[in-house]
Amino acid sequence: MALIADLAVQGAQMSLVVLLAPAATGIVRKAKARLLRRQGPPVLQPYRDLLRLMRKDVVLAENASWLFRAAPYLIFAATWVAAALVPTFGAGLLFSWSADLIAITALLGSARFFLALAGMDVGTSFGGIGSSREVMIASLAEPAMIMIVFSLALLAGSTQLSTIAEYMMSPQVGLRVTLGLSFVALMMVGIAENARIPVDNPATHLELTMVHEAMIFEYSGRHLAVLELAAYLKLLLYISLIACVFAPWGLAPANAGWATLTIGAAAYSGKLLLGCLVLAGFETTIAKMRVFRVPTFLGAALMLGLLGTLLLFVSRGL
């Protein structure tokens, strides 16, 4: 019985992330539009977009290889697994033992690898430009992410997310400059990874600036729907990751009853809403950067991660 209950909770988590992901993007778009005093599309618009794309036929380029057709599903699967591993409402999930920060980084990295390959597959110049920019951004964002993971792991003594969340809820955390630095660095990495405004503009198709949109330019129909859903999932993943590590309050501990899980779910939706609104506010107050300034932006994230680790060594070494 216990196993069935555990499986039910894990299944609920897996379906929850997929069901909520378009809504999160919808909330961000709506909030951004309202902040600019526009009406904006309804919050449910991403769901309708996905449905419409699902119904449409796929138009394939003549020289598209099997990889071009397989890549969307691979990317979606890797992103979905990564998003399902991050604790959202409860920590003690069936697959918690594998919810490791390094594993999540690796899953996202392989998704990006296939996306970059798919962008170059057809051989148009747009896809190539998108892939090369994406890989440039990734080559800076991933070291920064790994530095953040290191400093968190040094603090909590584990790279497992549920252990880190438990440590962050315990009183022995104290006031740590390292945590502040990692928090800022993780937000910067999340912004770069999700192609949000200072790095990439998700709302335009301007060839000078686009990165993510350029790679999925050749896709249509259900392939595009799957890729869009993967992008929504990635945004949800980063918001839940930040919420889980830096604001784990309300997270249901392992073997919790239904009441605690419900409280956890309510807290999670509050945190998700807050994260979306903060992201929208941030995006409306800042201008898009030139592509060549992105290394400076991500270099700052890497520097914060490094400095956080160094300062941690000082307080540990004393």
Partner: protein, 220 residues
């Protein structure tokens, strides 16, 4: 673990190092001056906190001096100065940001590893202060080396001096007379440098120090 007192001291001193690194890549003069004001503000907070936990009332005076002169008076004077020199809208070409930042991080790592090993039998707070002070000092030197504009070199010098005050805070028993005289000598140095800047500008029509090399007869 060390408790909240130490954690807050660590937080403030660590922020000082972080702000030094931010100063390293800032290329607009007004922003650089504002960050310098923040640097001095955090120095003053850090000194005041250590005065509080060590029951050392004379350190409050150091904190007050840092707050009044370095966080308020000098930044205001520098703002006025760059407006009068007409360089407040210029963007300074900082020599390649990436290597400079790497050098800065390397200096922080170096000073931490050296200082923590040298001062094994000292007080906890003093060790940490001295380690962070050395990195602030080295980054201040790095700022002075990488800049071409004389005003930002002055700011590098001032941030270096903040590092010295942090080190002096950790060291027990620095007399108040020394502290006050150091503070005033920095102020005097600031005034003298300010006068020199105007003289340099009058003579060479620029505050870019590379112009001086030409007049010294150096070949590049």
């Amino acid at each position: 673990m060390h408790g909240l007192n130490f954690d807050i001291a660590h937080l403030l001193a660590g922020s000082l190092v972080l702000i030094s690194l931010v100063m390293l890549y800032q290329d607009r003069l007004p922003a650089l001056i504002n960050i310098y004001a923040f640097h001095a503000l955090f120095l003053s907070l850090s000194v005041a906190w250590q005065a509080h936990i060590n029951n050392a009332p004379h350190l409050y005076i150091t904190a007050a001096i840092a707050l009044l002169f370095k966080a308020i008076f000098i930044p205001l004077a520098l703002h006025r100065m760059i407006v009068r020199l007409g360089i407040h809208r210029e963007i300074e070409a900082v020599a390649s940001v990436g290597p400079t930042m790497l050098a800065g991080i390397g200096l922080v790592g170096l000073s931490l590893s050296v200082m923590l090993r040298v001062t094994t039998d000292a007080d906890l707070l003093a060790r940490e202060d001295v380690a962070f002070a050395l990195s602030v000092l080295l980054i201040g030197l790095l700022i002075m080396v990488t800049r071409r504009n004389a005003v930002s070199q002055v700011i590098g010098f001032m941030s270096l001096e903040n590092g010295l005050v942090l080190a002096a805070t950790g060291a027990k028993g620095m007399p108040l007379v020394v502290e006050i005289s150091v503070a005033f000598s920095v102020l005097i140095a600031f005034i003298v440098i300010g006068i020199f800047l105007f003289r340099i500008r009058e003579r060479f029509d620029t505050v870019d120090v590379h112009a001086l090399d030409r007049f010294r007869g150096e070949r590049r």
